[in-house]
Symmetry: C2
Subunit: 227 residues, 2 copies
DNA sequence: AAGTAGTCTTACTCGCGAGTAGCCACAGGA
DNA sequence: TCCTGTGGCTACTCGCGAGTAAGACTACTT
């Protein structure tokens, strides 16, 4: 009863550096996820890691470095999770489905990781927002390429190739938003979430790829594409 | 040449309170938009407003209050802009189109407002993140109702009514993401952006509403909806 | 046992930024 | 002309949080 619950390593029991680093990163991810970068304090990170502040500095450097390492680790996990399932040999539709499914599985598994990557990403002035935005952009480009590939596989209406990137951006946003929505409906399975996104995206793209576009009702003028 | 450019009111020229308050809110919106809530300093807000810090406190209260007022004002603008065009008499499709168009027009017009509402919203621990999340939720509910209405208007497959909220969430996310994408492609018109979203959303919903769902390719099991 | 390398702590410094005290100035009514 | 209220300022206090100095404890070598 002299220490806290067996939950966290109550008070520093002399562990090898590698282990401590992992603990610190875990703690940092959790704290950054809850508080956001600015509101998070190194004291709290140290506390949650069950260790004292100078250790954090000794092992992981400054707050900014620590955050950067967190980002890298979590982003790596996500990329690995998706990369492990998207064999480029497969049909675009199936690649997309597998990627989307892997994404939601990852989000379900590592909520904090996702939170750090998604929320704390864009908000700050410059520091790593750039890096994250870059990762996001890469994802969009990748998905855009996938859509273009799919479009070519079907009989592609020419104009659609100029639209793939914007569509990919929308798709990514829809995925992020669905992931948020998931937080309020935790009983849903990753498969069901992924299926939702695919239904929205693919059934929509299915029409678009076949040249069936939507037109504004009142004005006859079409903006996104020639009729 | 004794003062700065005619750009900002160089150094306090004795204006009525109402005017100053507007200026302060404008400045605060800009600063919060660029820095984010935590990184923004009251000194900078005061500076941008061309005024000294105590005035900000005298007129708008604490930093948190100031931010809250900003949020309220910008959210109000957005709600007004959308609310002004979505006559509930109209067909769901047209309501959605008008709403989406109004949204992108607003974003184009008031970048900072949108930034404050969108980015700085979710990131913080509790303060007003709640209020914004609430607004977002209302938007999702509203759009969800619209989709349900549309679904009923067509021959609705029963199961779809349970999906409208999730679809609305996805749609909102897609809109946000497209708005971000727009920042990198500023030559696009609001109409073109809105048309893109409608194409993705409506052509997708068009299929869904008619019972044409997407199915995972390898596994025969359907998750989102019964075949 | 004594040396030494790596783990871990207490107890600081120091700057930045929220919020305030107290004072100045000008416009208009007496 | 003086008087007062409202607009405005300079110049502080004060706490919080990033980052550090200096040393203590433990385990493994020789």
């Amino acid at each position: 009863m002299r220490s806290e619950q067996g939950d966290r390593p109550a008070r520093a029991k002399r562990l090898p550096r590698a282990v401590r680093e992992r603990q610190i990163l875990d703690a940092a991810t959790a704290v950054f996820s809850q508080r956001g970068y600015h509101a998070a304090s190194m004291d709290e990170v140290a506390d949650v890691a069950g260790i004292s502040k100078p250790m954090v500095y000794a092992y992981l450097g400054s707050k900014e470095e620590l955050f950067a390492v967190c980002i890298k680790r979590e982003a790596g996990r996500l990329v690995d999770a998706v990369g492990a399932v998207v064999d480029p040999e497969l049909a675009p539709e199936e690649q997309l489905w597998r990627g989307v499914l892997a994404f939601f599985t990852f989000v379900g598994e590592y909520r904090d990781s996702w939170n750090v990557l998604h929320r704390q990403a864009g908000s700050e002035g410059q520091p790593f927002a750039v890096e994250i935005a870059e990762g996001r952009r890469r994802a969009i480009t990748l998905i855009g390429a996938l859509l273009a590939q799919a479009a070519v596989a079907e009989g592609v209406p020419e104009w659609f190739l100029g639209e793939t990137e914007a569509m990919a951006a929308a798709l990514v946003g829809a995925g992020e938003s669905l992931a948020d929505w998931w937080l309020d409906h935790p009983d849903e399975s990753p498969r069901a979430m992924a299926a939702r996104l695919m239904n929205l995206a693919w059934m929509g793209f299915g029409n678009l790829v076949n040249g069936r576009t939507w037109q504004p009702p009142t004005t006859p003028k079409a903006d996104a594409a020639p009729a």
